[in-house]
Symmetry: C2
Subunit: 418 residues, 2 copies
């Protein structure tokens, strides 16, 4: 007997037939003797329709009303799944965010979960013959005003991990349209293989780099509360899964649980990058603030920042990257701030890509990056900039060379399928 | 300055453009200095979709889950209308049933409102510059379990009247697709005219007889709490209404408020009736129970019941009517119970109609029914059965003569337009 959280996204619950399929997954775990809480998203398309209505109602809509409208999507799915489960003879009931309650901050539209009361659910597992809790994801309630909040896009992952923490679940299964986390994008490197396990920190880096498997915040929450998150496929037929066998997917867990830690776990890349280099900026206190303050004010997400030690003691070059979509706004922002920053000129490039190598093993292994630089040079890939962190390093290269670089590094670190 | 409740049904809020139109109606009253609470239904079609999903999920769905799913429709409308109002510069916020809260009985799917806390709304009228309360109709919460309940179809009318009672509103405006209550159906009698006022009791009779203007329960509630209900058209353009002039529509109110009470207020009719006469049933205690018990068990709504005093002291004839749709089931039910009832034979007719004459004035005026019998006889309309109550009498006639009978009585009692 284990206690499990199962999370299903919008495409998995898009219509009653698919909800029935989800119910069979749930029934499998219940029949295997587990205590189960399910977290569901809105039926796919629903949230978009609700958001569209809010936008049509007003371009500057009240975030509190937006939340009240949008949160209904998950409520519908939770009720319907409870009905289908009951129809299959599985004891179940739905829970809306305010009913548990899922207490959140007041940041409507992007609230953070503060607390979930898991006691009632645990009591019901015991007293009501393992009654399945079907919980509307993505939402909570702000205690002071008693109004509904939503957690922002992808928030159902966060709901699921938070519920798992609240009820002390042995595992939080995220059913998704990929069957796990891969060493890199299999569309670029056919040799990419699925990882059995990945450490929270590594997954955080991957998620931050745009791997769409999990929302960054949900991984953070999992790390803080040590919730074992299991990414698995929602396409597997419930009948084909042996509930007593080890399921296939990727476990996101504490590094201590990963016995044979690789030095490098995965390669991530992003082609939608633009680079802005500020030449001969004066090397004095406050300059970084003068540059990045206005960018933050314009809501531009700066990614890599590279500043080298000044050679002449008075000026230096500073390079940063932004998403391509923000490039124009970023350039104009920096040009407008020229007087307050003080620099000679801007060199920019919009056809650049960032390739990142991630692995907790880097902490204890020297020379991991050096190997990469050598291999890239051998393939005539020019490195424009480098940043490093404790468990990751990234290189900025010409976008056309992305695939070659990723394949080179994937093979270099022994990640290719055997 | 007055305090008003305004209620809008599903077709009035079917899309954002129509919600914007509703908002203009609301703004008109706010601008006129009134304190306003709005009660809204789900966008038309939404409830049907939600109900269809529940049915697809299971033919025997849990009423608690059904309520959780279906209640979302009104929540969406309430949020959207609040957004549109704010966009027009009107201070507004939405309220879901559990937020006010609207406390109801536990009868999921058909709950009764037990209590609404109006104090918070009144406080907000005062403290927040007449903040408009936009309330999701049709729903409440059962306190003990903290689960959502719905009031059954048409329940938004009941929500509106209950809110009006809770906040002590001077009037509860029901915006609907008719512009008031008529003396009879204008499609049958072109001379039918709109009533300025109608007493609760009269409206209750009309509603019970199938006038679709208002839900019976909402009129009952209005009568108990003395809420003045005003039926008016949702098609009038907000711009065309002078907020300081007397609005056009029909006021449902206490009879004391109707200065010039007519003897007869309206004529109602129903063509979908079937008649079952039980011949030579033994005239002894318990027979009525033997007949109507099985019908009630089969969920058949019996309408008119006519039993005359026995002529021979041992047997009598008993006639009752049921909706045409239930005729076959009713006949079979009575045939099956023949042994326990004890009767000679059944005479039935499926082509009958009931015509009813309603008026509080009948209480104090003798001979009102006698006039009708004379007029009907003069027009060669045969009366199959008669029932009477304090403020109403009904005659059962052949269905083909319905229109003639209604026109005859409408003119007889001076209801024709002048």
């Amino acid at each position: 007997m284990a206690r499990l959280v199962m999370k299903f996204g919008g495409t998995s619950v898009a219509d009653i037939d698919r909800i029935r399929n989800v119910a069979r997954h749930v029934k499998r775990e219940v029949d295997a003797g587990h205590e189960v809480a399910v977290v569901v998203s809105a039926m796919s398309g629903t949230t978009n329709q609700l958001v569209a209505w809010c936008r049509e109602a007003s371009r500057l809509h009240d975030a509190r009303e937006y939340d009240a409208v949008v949160a209904t999507g998950e409520q519908v799915t939770a009720g319907l799944l409870a009905i289908v489960l009951q129809d299959m003879g599985v004891n179940a009931r739905s829970w809306q965010g305010w009913q548990l309650p899922v207490l959140t901050s007041s940041a409507h539209g992007g609230a953070r979960i503060l607390d979930i009361n898991g006691a009632e659910l645990i009591k019901r597992f015991k007293e009501r013959d393992r009654e399945v809790a079907v919980i509307a994801g993505f939402q909570g309630v702000y205690k002071e005003t008693n109004r509904l909040t939503t957690l922002g896009r992808g928030g159902s992952d966060t709901s699921a991990v938070a519920v798992a923490a609240a009820i002390g679940a042995q595992r939080c299964d995220i059913y998704t349209d990929v069957d796990g986390v891969y060493t890199t994008d299999p569309r670029v490197v056919p040799q990419a293989r699925r990882l059995d396990k990945i450490a929270y920190e590594e997954m955080l880096e991957l998620a931050s780099l745009g791997a769409k498997v999990m929302q960054v915040r949900s991984v953070e929450l999992g790390m803080v509360h040590n919730v074992r998150i299991f990414v698995r496929s929602s396409f597997e037929k419930p009948e084909d899964i042996d509930p007593h066998a080890e399921p296939s997917g990727t476990l996101i867990c504490d590094e201590g649980e990963i016995v044979e830690q690789q030095v490098v776990t995965g390669i991530a890349f992003s082609k939608d990058e633009a680079q802005i280099s500020i030449r001969r900026v004066s090397d004095k206190p406050g300059v970084a603030a003068a540059i990045f303050g206005p960018l933050a004010d314009s809501n531009i997400n700066v990614d890599m920042i590279v500043q080298n030690v000044s050679a002449d003691g008075s000026t230096t070059d500073l390079t940063f990257t932004v998403p391509s979509a923000d490039y124009e706004r970023a350039r104009i922002t920096i040009e407008k701030a020229k007087a307050s920053i003080g620099y000679e000129r801007l060199d920019t490039a919009t056809d650049v890509a960032k390739v990142s190598v991630i692995g907790i093993g880097m902490r204890s292994h020297a020379g991991v990056a050096a190997q990469a630089f050598g291999a890239l040079a051998k393939n005539k890939i020019n490195i424009r900039a480098i940043t490093t962190s404790e468990i990751k390093f990234s290189v900025l290269i010409d976008a056309v060379q992305t695939d070659l670089a990723v394949r080179t590094l994937h093979s270099l670190y022994g990640l290719d399928k055997t």
